[in-house]
């Protein structure tokens, strides 16, 4: 199989995916922060009713202060990301109001960096969450960091959100995600040891399209990479080889 060797990020995401409880998710967030070499990495969930929970590497004193002061109402990141689905650089947000400026000052005093990049997530029933990386550095360094890691950060965000949804009590089990026949074909051929070019050729599709089928199947299976997706599909009886 023409799979890439497992990267460190793959391993970390797998740890996150297998995390049995919030404590393990917390550890995963710390390891991911170290992996990306940023000051902070945070997942923050806000329910439709305004309940919040999260995990990450902000100072506990800041988290408590944030909750106590109901900064949810002031935080420009929340205001700027709510109802959105594109990743947001904190620089593009409006920090000009008096309350926002005081909030920022306090956040910096609690050890947050001046740079931030947040991925908004929209889940079922009005669920809203944010995945954020935060760092202290100059604008140029931050821009090259976010450009280089944008897609990885988006994927991380979805891993955290999937995990959080799993933990939610009273949650109806997620409907089993159905693989499309083409996705099944693609994974089956990969499982049989075909290379990507051969698979594409066999299915009379371009490698480009094949990539999309694999990507979509991978996401539905909650798999880290192609090898993992194939393994999962086999273990769940979705493909037979």
């Amino acid at each position: 199989m023409n799979a890439h060797p497992r990267s460190r990020l793959d391993n970390l995401l797998e740890e996150l995916e297998l995390a049995p409880d919030i404590a393990a998710v917390q550890i995963a967030s710390e390891r991911l922060r170290d992996h990306f070499r940023v000051d902070h990495l945070v997942y923050h969930w806000v329910s439709a009713a305004g309940d919040q929970y999260g995990c990450g590497t902000y100072d506990q004193a800041w988290v408590e202060r944030y909750l106590e002061m109901e900064y949810l109402r002031v935080d420009p990141v929340i205001r700027g990301c709510y109802q959105r689905f594109h990743p947001v650089d904190w620089k593009t947000l409006d920090w000009s109001g008096k309350a926002a400026q005081a909030f920022l000052k306090e956040a910096l005093a609690h050890g947050l960096g001046n740079q931030g990049y947040s991925v908004p997530l929209r889940g079922p029933n009005g669920q809203f969450a944010l995945f954020t990386v935060n760092h202290r550095c100059d604008d140029a360094s931050w821009q090259s960091f976010t450009e280089a890691h944008r897609r990885e950060l988006i994927l991380c965000a979805h891993y955290f959100n999937t995990k959080a949804l799993d933990f939610e009590p009273d949650r109806a089990p997620a409907p089993a995600r159905q693989l499309s026949p083409r996705e099944v074909d693609a994974l089956t051929l990969l499982a049989l040891g075909y290379g990507r070019a051969q698979v594409a050729d066999t299915l009379s599709i371009s490698e480009h399209t094949l990539r999309v089928y694999i990507e979509s199947a991978r996401f539905k299976l909650g798999a880290i990479n192609t090898v993992h997706a194939v393994a999962r599909a086999i273990s769940q009886g979705l493909i037979v080889v």
Binding site: P87, W90, K91, R122, R150, I154, H158, V212, E215, S216
Partner: protein, 211 residues
């Protein structure tokens, strides 16, 4: 000029929004006779307009809509996954790196470069937001338009034949494709970046965060 607006931002542009939904009714109901709903105001709207999608809109000098398209993430509800699964042979398209693009609309008499301009607007979304592909549903007529623009999708599945054929397709946007479409649109890439920044916030927070 291009504007990128989420549904909850449309109220700040009433003329633009009104003419977009009117033009959609004109295109999808009057001209194409699709089975779509037109409201008392003459607007073509569907359930996905209520999910706060992101619209990319070409605004004419008079402030009216000349063309538009609509985006939603495929990790949430989408038209393909809810209505066109049969075209894909069952199954769905879901990925944080794929957004669905629907309701590609051109106002009556819109110059062909506007279609190209919209495509470039979509390309800018991919470049800036880490989106790898767009998925979309379109009819036979659009196949020719996409080809003319220089941005043909890869067909994932089709239903029916001839003029009523419906396809599900997938776009990627390479730098080469971008350059070609930019030529058709007759707008410099720098201007695209400017419009994009204008919609998604320039660096208004730069000063505050440099503290």
């Amino acid at each position: 000029m291009l504007r990128y607006l989420y549904a909850d931002q449309l109220s700040a542009f009433p003329r633009l929004a009104n003419s977009m939904f009117l033009d959609r009714a004109d295109q999808f109901k009057t001209r194409l006779n699709w089975d779509v709903t037109v409201t008392a105001k003459g607007h073509e709207r569907d359930e996905y307009d209520d999910l706060n999608p992101l619209y990319v809109i070409w605004e004419g000098p008079d402030g009216r809509h000349r063309g538009s398209m609509r985006f939603l993430p495929t990790t949430d509800r989408t038209m393909i996954n809810e209505h066109f699964r049969d075209i894909l042979g069952g199954g769905t398209i879901e990925s944080p790196l794929i957004w669905e693009c629907t309701r590609f609309c051109l106002a009556r008499g819109a110059e062909s470069r506007i279609a190209a301009a919209l495509m470039l607007g979509g390309g800018e979304i991919m470049r800036q937001f880490g989106v790898r592909h767009f998925s979309g549903v379109f009819d036979a007529r659009m196949v020719r338009i996409y080809r003319t623009i220089g941005s043909s999708p890869e067909i994932l599945g089709q239903l029916g034949t001839g003029r009523v054929q419906i396809s599900v397709g997938l776009w990627e946007f390479t730098d080469a494709a971008r350059a070609l479409v930019a030529k058709r649109a007759g707008v410099s890439p720098a201007l695209y970046e400017l419009w994009f920044r204008r919609s998604f916030g320039s660096d208004m927070g730069r000063q505050a965060l440099s503290a």
